[in-house]
Protein backbone atom coordinates (compact mmCIF):
# COMPACT_ATOMS: atom_id res chain seq x y z
CA UNK A 1 0.00 0.00 0.00
CA UNK A 2 1.26 3.47 -0.83
CA UNK A 3 2.22 5.10 2.48
CA UNK A 4 2.03 8.82 3.14
CA UNK A 5 4.21 9.78 6.09
CA UNK A 6 4.17 12.84 8.30
CA UNK A 7 4.79 15.94 6.20
CA UNK A 8 4.44 14.10 2.89
CA UNK A 9 2.25 14.73 -0.14
CA UNK A 10 1.41 12.01 -2.64
CA UNK A 11 -1.13 11.31 -5.35
CA UNK A 12 -2.52 7.96 -6.43
CA UNK A 13 -0.64 8.17 -9.70
CA UNK A 14 2.46 7.51 -7.56
CA UNK A 15 1.18 3.97 -7.02
CA UNK A 16 -1.70 1.62 -7.58
CA UNK A 17 -4.42 0.54 -5.17
CA UNK A 18 -5.26 2.00 -1.78
CA UNK A 19 -3.18 4.64 0.01
CA UNK A 20 -2.47 4.65 3.73
CA UNK A 21 -1.81 7.55 6.09
CA UNK A 22 -0.71 6.12 9.45
CA UNK A 23 -0.28 7.78 12.85
CA UNK A 24 -2.31 10.95 12.48
CA UNK A 25 -2.34 12.73 15.82
CA UNK A 26 -2.16 16.56 15.93
CA UNK A 27 -1.34 16.53 12.23
CA UNK A 28 -4.13 16.69 9.67
CA UNK A 29 -4.64 14.57 6.58
CA UNK A 30 -6.18 16.54 3.74
CA UNK A 31 -7.55 14.18 1.10
CA UNK A 32 -8.62 15.28 -2.37
CA UNK A 33 -10.58 12.82 -4.50
CA UNK A 34 -11.55 12.87 -8.15
CA UNK A 35 -14.30 10.28 -8.03
CA UNK A 36 -14.96 10.42 -11.77
CA UNK A 37 -11.45 9.35 -12.66
CA UNK A 38 -10.82 7.34 -9.52
CA UNK A 39 -7.74 9.22 -8.47
CA UNK A 40 -6.75 10.77 -5.17
CA UNK A 41 -4.11 12.94 -3.56
CA UNK A 42 -3.36 13.59 0.08
CA UNK A 43 -1.03 15.52 2.34
CA UNK A 44 -0.31 14.91 6.04
CA UNK A 45 0.53 18.33 7.50
CA UNK A 46 1.70 18.73 11.08
CA UNK A 47 1.98 22.45 11.84
CA UNK A 48 -0.41 25.32 11.10
CA UNK A 49 1.35 28.24 9.40
CA UNK A 50 4.51 28.02 7.34
CA UNK A 51 7.48 29.97 8.68
CA UNK A 52 10.19 27.95 7.01
CA UNK A 53 12.37 29.02 4.11
CA UNK A 54 13.05 25.44 3.07
CA UNK A 55 11.14 24.02 0.11
CA UNK A 56 11.21 20.58 1.70
CA UNK A 57 9.16 21.91 4.60
CA UNK A 58 6.24 23.25 2.57
CA UNK A 59 4.25 20.01 2.78
CA UNK A 60 4.62 20.01 6.56
CA UNK A 61 2.44 23.09 7.10
CA UNK A 62 -1.32 23.36 6.77
CA UNK A 63 -1.41 26.56 4.70
CA UNK A 64 1.28 25.68 2.17
CA UNK A 65 0.44 21.95 2.18
CA UNK A 66 -3.17 22.47 1.12
CA UNK A 67 -2.14 24.83 -1.70
CA UNK A 68 0.53 22.42 -2.97
CA UNK A 69 -1.92 19.52 -2.94
CA UNK A 70 -4.45 21.54 -4.87
CA UNK A 71 -1.78 22.53 -7.38
CA UNK A 72 -0.73 18.90 -7.76
CA UNK A 73 -4.33 17.80 -8.42
CA UNK A 74 -4.70 20.55 -11.03
CA UNK A 75 -1.40 19.47 -12.60
CA UNK A 76 -2.89 16.02 -12.98
CA UNK A 77 -5.71 17.59 -14.93
CA UNK A 78 -8.37 17.63 -12.24
CA UNK A 79 -10.63 20.69 -12.29
CA UNK A 80 -11.34 22.38 -8.97
CA UNK A 81 -15.07 21.76 -9.12
CA UNK A 82 -14.47 18.03 -9.56
CA UNK A 83 -12.58 17.64 -6.32
CA UNK A 84 -14.17 16.03 -3.26
CA UNK A 85 -12.37 16.92 -0.04
CA UNK A 86 -12.15 14.94 3.19
CA UNK A 87 -10.22 16.04 6.29
CA UNK A 88 -9.02 13.79 9.11
CA UNK A 89 -6.95 14.38 12.27
CA UNK A 90 -6.16 17.30 14.54
CA UNK A 91 -6.20 15.59 17.93
CA UNK A 92 -4.75 17.44 20.89
CA UNK A 93 -3.27 16.54 24.25
CA UNK A 94 -5.06 17.58 27.43
CA UNK A 95 -4.29 20.87 29.12
CA UNK A 96 -3.32 24.35 27.99
CA UNK A 97 -5.37 25.36 24.99
CA UNK A 98 -2.65 27.56 23.56
CA UNK A 99 -0.77 24.39 22.61
CA UNK A 100 -3.63 22.98 20.62
CA UNK A 101 -1.65 22.52 17.44
CA UNK A 102 -4.24 19.99 16.28
CA UNK A 103 -7.09 22.45 16.58
CA UNK A 104 -5.06 25.18 14.85
CA UNK A 105 -4.12 22.83 12.01
CA UNK A 106 -7.77 22.07 11.34
CA UNK A 107 -8.62 25.78 11.44
CA UNK A 108 -5.93 26.72 8.95
CA UNK A 109 -6.87 23.86 6.61
CA UNK A 110 -10.53 25.02 6.63
CA UNK A 111 -9.55 28.64 6.10
CA UNK A 112 -7.29 27.97 3.13
CA UNK A 113 -9.82 25.62 1.52
CA UNK A 114 -12.58 28.19 1.80
CA UNK A 115 -10.27 30.90 0.42
CA UNK A 116 -9.82 28.61 -2.57
CA UNK A 117 -13.58 28.30 -2.84
CA UNK A 118 -13.55 24.64 -1.90
CA UNK A 119 -15.99 22.85 0.40
CA UNK A 120 -15.19 20.02 2.77
CA UNK A 121 -17.41 17.04 1.98
CA UNK A 122 -16.66 15.13 5.17
CA UNK A 123 -14.38 15.42 8.16
CA UNK A 124 -13.41 13.46 11.27
CA UNK A 125 -11.35 15.84 13.40
CA UNK A 126 -10.46 16.83 16.94
CA UNK A 127 -10.56 14.80 20.13
CA UNK A 128 -7.67 12.89 21.68
CA UNK A 129 -7.39 9.76 19.59
CA UNK A 130 -4.79 8.73 17.06
CA UNK A 131 -6.12 7.89 13.61
CA UNK A 132 -5.06 5.86 10.59
CA UNK A 133 -6.56 6.53 7.20
CA UNK A 134 -7.03 4.20 4.24
CA UNK A 135 -7.98 5.85 0.95
CA UNK A 136 -9.51 3.88 -1.91
CA UNK A 137 -8.98 6.16 -4.91
CA UNK A 138 -11.13 3.99 -7.22
CA UNK A 139 -14.29 4.42 -5.17
CA UNK A 140 -13.48 7.56 -3.20
CA UNK A 141 -13.99 5.63 0.02
CA UNK A 142 -12.02 6.95 3.01
CA UNK A 143 -11.76 4.67 6.01
CA UNK A 144 -10.65 5.98 9.42
CA UNK A 145 -9.21 3.45 11.87
CA UNK A 146 -8.43 3.84 15.57
CA UNK A 147 -6.25 1.92 18.00
CA UNK A 148 -9.47 0.94 19.73
CA UNK A 149 -13.01 0.55 18.46
CA UNK A 150 -14.73 0.24 15.11
CA UNK A 151 -13.38 1.91 11.98
CA UNK A 152 -15.45 4.61 10.39
CA UNK A 153 -16.19 5.42 6.75
CA UNK A 154 -16.41 9.07 5.85
Amino acid sequence: MLQIGLGELKTSTDGKGPMEIPNIMSGVAVIMLDKKRGMAGAVHVLLPVCNSMSRADLTKFADTGVKLLLGEMENQGVAKHEITIKVVGGSDLMGATNFSVGHKNVEVVSRVLSQEGLLVAAQEVGGRRKRHVIIHPGTGRVQVKYLLGEPLDI
Partner: protein, 284 residues
Protein backbone atom coordinates in the same frame (compact mmCIF):
# COMPACT_ATOMS: atom_id res chain seq x y z
CA UNK B 1 -12.38 -0.89 45.54
CA UNK B 2 -9.05 -0.63 47.35
CA UNK B 3 -6.06 -2.05 45.52
CA UNK B 4 -4.83 -5.23 47.10
CA UNK B 5 -1.44 -5.20 48.71
CA UNK B 6 -0.72 -8.36 46.80
CA UNK B 7 -1.16 -6.65 43.43
CA UNK B 8 1.07 -3.76 44.46
CA UNK B 9 3.76 -6.19 45.60
CA UNK B 10 3.49 -8.08 42.33
CA UNK B 11 4.04 -4.91 40.33
CA UNK B 12 7.05 -3.90 42.41
CA UNK B 13 8.50 -7.40 42.00
CA UNK B 14 8.08 -7.09 38.21
CA UNK B 15 10.57 -4.23 38.30
CA UNK B 16 13.18 -6.76 39.38
CA UNK B 17 12.26 -9.04 36.50
CA UNK B 18 13.49 -6.50 33.93
CA UNK B 19 16.93 -7.39 32.63
CA UNK B 20 19.76 -5.21 33.93
CA UNK B 21 21.62 -2.69 31.81
CA UNK B 22 24.72 -4.50 30.50
CA UNK B 23 27.64 -4.03 32.88
CA UNK B 24 29.88 -2.74 30.14
CA UNK B 25 27.52 0.20 29.50
CA UNK B 26 27.60 1.23 33.15
CA UNK B 27 31.35 0.70 33.31
CA UNK B 28 31.75 2.93 30.25
CA UNK B 29 29.86 5.75 31.96
CA UNK B 30 32.06 5.35 35.06
CA UNK B 31 35.23 5.56 33.03
CA UNK B 32 33.96 8.61 31.17
CA UNK B 33 33.34 10.44 34.44
CA UNK B 34 36.96 9.99 35.49
CA UNK B 35 38.94 13.22 35.03
CA UNK B 36 41.77 11.74 32.97
CA UNK B 37 39.70 9.47 30.75
CA UNK B 38 41.03 9.13 27.22
CA UNK B 39 39.71 7.56 24.02
CA UNK B 40 42.24 4.80 24.60
CA UNK B 41 40.68 3.89 27.98
CA UNK B 42 37.23 3.65 26.44
CA UNK B 43 38.51 1.78 23.40
CA UNK B 44 40.18 -0.80 25.63
CA UNK B 45 36.91 -1.41 27.44
CA UNK B 46 34.93 -1.63 24.21
CA UNK B 47 37.45 -4.04 22.69
CA UNK B 48 36.86 -6.52 25.49
CA UNK B 49 33.34 -7.05 24.21
CA UNK B 50 33.23 -8.36 20.63
CA UNK B 51 29.57 -7.54 20.04
CA UNK B 52 29.95 -4.04 21.44
CA UNK B 53 33.10 -3.42 19.43
CA UNK B 54 31.40 -4.23 16.15
CA UNK B 55 28.43 -2.07 17.17
CA UNK B 56 30.71 0.91 17.77
CA UNK B 57 32.38 0.48 14.39
CA UNK B 58 29.04 0.19 12.63
CA UNK B 59 27.73 3.33 14.32
CA UNK B 60 30.88 5.33 13.66
CA UNK B 61 30.65 4.41 9.97
CA UNK B 62 26.93 5.06 9.67
CA UNK B 63 26.14 7.51 6.86
CA UNK B 64 23.94 9.27 9.42
CA UNK B 65 27.06 10.79 10.97
CA UNK B 66 28.41 11.92 7.65
CA UNK B 67 31.79 10.20 7.78
CA UNK B 68 33.79 10.42 4.61
CA UNK B 69 36.62 8.03 5.35
CA UNK B 70 36.21 4.57 6.82
CA UNK B 71 36.77 4.30 10.54
CA UNK B 72 38.50 0.99 11.12
CA UNK B 73 39.80 1.07 14.69
CA UNK B 74 37.75 1.22 17.85
CA UNK B 75 39.88 4.05 19.19
CA UNK B 76 39.25 6.13 16.06
CA UNK B 77 35.54 5.37 16.41
CA UNK B 78 35.49 6.47 20.04
CA UNK B 79 37.34 9.68 19.23
CA UNK B 80 35.12 10.40 16.23
CA UNK B 81 31.80 9.93 18.02
CA UNK B 82 32.87 11.57 21.28
CA UNK B 83 32.24 10.11 24.73
CA UNK B 84 28.75 11.38 25.24
CA UNK B 85 27.39 10.37 21.84
CA UNK B 86 29.10 7.01 22.14
CA UNK B 87 27.50 6.35 25.50
CA UNK B 88 24.07 7.41 24.22
CA UNK B 89 24.31 5.14 21.23
CA UNK B 90 25.55 2.17 23.18
CA UNK B 91 22.88 2.57 25.84
CA UNK B 92 20.17 2.94 23.21
CA UNK B 93 21.19 -0.11 21.28
CA UNK B 94 21.41 -2.15 24.48
CA UNK B 95 17.76 -1.26 25.16
CA UNK B 96 16.56 -2.09 21.66
CA UNK B 97 15.65 -5.71 22.37
CA UNK B 98 13.53 -4.72 25.36
CA UNK B 99 11.99 -1.69 23.70
CA UNK B 100 10.91 -3.04 20.33
CA UNK B 101 8.33 -5.38 21.88
CA UNK B 102 4.62 -4.82 21.51
CA UNK B 103 2.99 -3.30 24.63
CA UNK B 104 -0.54 -4.70 24.57
CA UNK B 105 -1.80 -2.73 27.58
CA UNK B 106 -1.08 0.57 25.85
CA UNK B 107 -2.08 -0.73 22.39
CA UNK B 108 1.43 0.06 21.24
CA UNK B 109 2.44 -2.06 18.25
CA UNK B 110 5.82 -3.73 17.97
CA UNK B 111 8.42 -1.01 17.59
CA UNK B 112 6.22 1.81 18.88
CA UNK B 113 7.96 2.26 22.26
CA UNK B 114 11.32 2.20 20.51
CA UNK B 115 10.24 4.85 18.01
CA UNK B 116 8.69 7.00 20.72
CA UNK B 117 11.75 6.75 22.94
CA UNK B 118 14.30 7.45 20.22
CA UNK B 119 12.35 10.48 19.01
CA UNK B 120 11.99 11.72 22.59
CA UNK B 121 15.72 11.24 23.17
CA UNK B 122 16.67 13.28 20.10
CA UNK B 123 14.07 15.90 21.01
CA UNK B 124 15.45 16.19 24.56
CA UNK B 125 18.99 16.47 23.27
CA UNK B 126 17.95 19.15 20.82
CA UNK B 127 16.20 21.20 23.54
CA UNK B 128 19.09 20.73 25.95
CA UNK B 129 21.55 22.07 23.41
CA UNK B 130 19.73 25.38 23.31
CA UNK B 131 18.66 25.75 26.93
CA UNK B 132 20.55 23.37 29.17
CA UNK B 133 23.74 23.62 31.18
CA UNK B 134 26.50 21.04 30.76
CA UNK B 135 25.02 18.47 33.15
CA UNK B 136 21.62 18.74 31.48
CA UNK B 137 23.13 18.47 28.00
CA UNK B 138 24.90 15.29 29.02
CA UNK B 139 21.84 13.55 30.46
CA UNK B 140 19.02 14.79 28.22
CA UNK B 141 19.32 12.07 25.57
CA UNK B 142 19.28 9.29 28.16
CA UNK B 143 16.38 10.91 30.00
CA UNK B 144 14.32 11.09 26.81
CA UNK B 145 15.26 7.53 25.95
CA UNK B 146 14.17 5.97 29.24
CA UNK B 147 11.29 8.26 30.30
CA UNK B 148 8.62 5.63 29.54
CA UNK B 149 10.57 2.60 30.72
CA UNK B 150 7.86 2.04 33.34
CA UNK B 151 5.49 1.05 30.55
CA UNK B 152 7.47 -2.16 30.09
CA UNK B 153 6.35 -3.18 33.58
CA UNK B 154 2.86 -1.66 33.62
CA UNK B 155 1.61 -2.89 30.24
CA UNK B 156 0.76 -6.37 31.48
CA UNK B 157 -1.19 -5.07 34.49
CA UNK B 158 -3.00 -2.49 32.40
CA UNK B 159 -4.24 -5.24 30.10
CA UNK B 160 -5.97 -6.85 33.08
CA UNK B 161 -8.00 -3.73 33.92
CA UNK B 162 -8.02 -2.19 30.47
CA UNK B 163 -11.73 -1.45 30.13
CA UNK B 164 -11.89 0.16 33.57
CA UNK B 165 -8.93 2.39 32.71
CA UNK B 166 -10.56 3.50 29.45
CA UNK B 167 -13.81 4.19 31.29
CA UNK B 168 -12.01 6.46 33.78
CA UNK B 169 -10.23 8.23 30.95
CA UNK B 170 -13.01 8.58 28.39
CA UNK B 171 -16.05 8.86 30.65
CA UNK B 172 -14.67 10.57 33.75
CA UNK B 173 -11.99 12.68 32.06
CA UNK B 174 -9.07 11.37 34.10
CA UNK B 175 -5.55 11.53 32.76
CA UNK B 176 -4.26 8.12 31.73
CA UNK B 177 -1.64 8.41 34.47
CA UNK B 178 -4.30 9.05 37.10
CA UNK B 179 -6.29 6.05 35.91
CA UNK B 180 -3.21 3.83 36.18
CA UNK B 181 -2.60 5.01 39.71
CA UNK B 182 -6.23 4.65 40.73
CA UNK B 183 -6.64 1.09 39.50
CA UNK B 184 -3.17 -0.36 39.97
CA UNK B 185 -1.71 1.68 42.82
CA UNK B 186 1.17 2.91 40.65
CA UNK B 187 1.58 4.78 37.39
CA UNK B 188 4.23 4.20 34.73
CA UNK B 189 6.19 7.31 35.79
CA UNK B 190 6.55 6.07 39.37
CA UNK B 191 7.44 2.56 38.31
CA UNK B 192 9.80 3.90 35.66
CA UNK B 193 11.69 5.88 38.29
CA UNK B 194 12.03 2.65 40.30
CA UNK B 195 13.53 0.98 37.24
CA UNK B 196 15.98 3.85 36.85
CA UNK B 197 16.97 3.56 40.51
CA UNK B 198 17.47 -0.15 40.11
CA UNK B 199 19.62 0.52 37.04
CA UNK B 200 21.63 2.96 39.17
CA UNK B 201 20.95 5.99 37.06
CA UNK B 202 21.77 9.30 38.80
CA UNK B 203 19.04 11.12 40.81
CA UNK B 204 18.44 13.72 38.06
CA UNK B 205 17.40 10.95 35.68
CA UNK B 206 15.24 9.28 38.30
CA UNK B 207 13.48 12.64 38.79
CA UNK B 208 13.07 13.24 35.06
CA UNK B 209 11.25 9.94 34.70
CA UNK B 210 9.22 10.34 37.89
CA UNK B 211 7.83 13.74 36.87
CA UNK B 212 7.76 13.58 33.09
CA UNK B 213 3.98 14.00 33.03
CA UNK B 214 3.85 16.51 35.90
CA UNK B 215 6.97 18.69 35.76
CA UNK B 216 5.50 21.19 38.23
CA UNK B 217 5.74 18.58 41.01
CA UNK B 218 9.50 18.11 40.74
CA UNK B 219 11.40 19.77 43.55
CA UNK B 220 14.74 19.66 41.75
CA UNK B 221 16.21 19.23 38.25
CA UNK B 222 13.49 21.50 36.87
CA UNK B 223 15.29 22.01 33.54
CA UNK B 224 15.80 18.35 32.74
CA UNK B 225 12.27 17.46 33.87
CA UNK B 226 10.76 20.21 31.70
CA UNK B 227 12.88 19.18 28.73
CA UNK B 228 11.68 15.59 28.95
CA UNK B 229 8.08 16.70 29.44
CA UNK B 230 8.07 18.89 26.33
CA UNK B 231 10.00 16.35 24.25
CA UNK B 232 7.47 13.69 25.14
CA UNK B 233 4.60 16.05 24.33
CA UNK B 234 6.12 16.93 20.95
CA UNK B 235 6.48 13.25 20.07
CA UNK B 236 2.93 12.48 21.18
CA UNK B 237 1.60 15.34 19.06
CA UNK B 238 3.51 13.93 16.10
CA UNK B 239 1.98 10.50 16.74
CA UNK B 240 5.48 9.05 17.10
CA UNK B 241 5.01 5.68 18.73
CA UNK B 242 2.09 6.86 20.81
CA UNK B 243 -0.41 4.35 22.12
CA UNK B 244 -4.04 4.54 23.16
CA UNK B 245 -2.90 6.63 26.15
CA UNK B 246 -1.15 9.24 23.99
CA UNK B 247 -3.80 11.98 23.99
CA UNK B 248 -4.68 11.60 27.64
CA UNK B 249 -1.73 13.39 29.19
CA UNK B 250 -1.73 17.11 29.91
CA UNK B 251 0.83 19.44 28.43
CA UNK B 252 2.14 21.90 30.98
CA UNK B 253 2.78 25.42 29.72
CA UNK B 254 4.91 26.22 32.76
CA UNK B 255 7.57 23.87 31.45
CA UNK B 256 8.16 26.36 28.63
CA UNK B 257 8.56 29.20 31.13
CA UNK B 258 11.03 27.14 33.13
CA UNK B 259 13.15 26.84 30.00
CA UNK B 260 12.51 30.45 28.92
CA UNK B 261 11.03 29.19 25.70
CA UNK B 262 8.14 30.58 23.72
CA UNK B 263 5.14 28.65 22.49
CA UNK B 264 6.49 28.90 18.98
CA UNK B 265 9.66 27.08 20.07
CA UNK B 266 7.65 23.90 20.58
CA UNK B 267 6.52 24.07 16.95
CA UNK B 268 10.12 24.66 15.92
CA UNK B 269 11.15 21.56 17.85
CA UNK B 270 8.49 19.51 16.07
CA UNK B 271 9.71 20.79 12.71
CA UNK B 272 13.33 19.92 13.55
CA UNK B 273 12.32 16.41 14.53
CA UNK B 274 10.73 15.74 11.14
CA UNK B 275 14.08 15.93 9.43
CA UNK B 276 16.76 15.12 12.00
CA UNK B 277 15.86 11.75 13.49
CA UNK B 278 16.57 8.32 12.13
CA UNK B 279 15.53 5.57 14.57
CA UNK B 280 17.00 2.91 12.28
CA UNK B 281 20.62 3.89 12.92
CA UNK B 282 20.49 2.52 16.45
CA UNK B 283 18.99 -0.84 15.58
CA UNK B 284 22.33 -2.57 15.57
Amino acid sequence: MPISLELKRKIVRSVDDLPPIPRVVMKMKELMMAPNCSAKHIADLVSQDQALASKVLKLANSPYFGVIRTISSIQQGVAFLGFNTLHNLVLASSLFGMYEKELKGYKMAKGALWEHSIYSAFAAQSLAESVGNKAVRETAFTAGLIHDVGKLVMSLYISEVFQSIMDLVERDGLQFLEAEKKLLGFDHAEIGSEVARKWRFPPALVNAIRYHHAPQLASSDADLVSIVHLSDAACLMMGKGSGVDGGYYPIDGLALQTLKMKEDDLQKLILRLTSSVNPAILEV
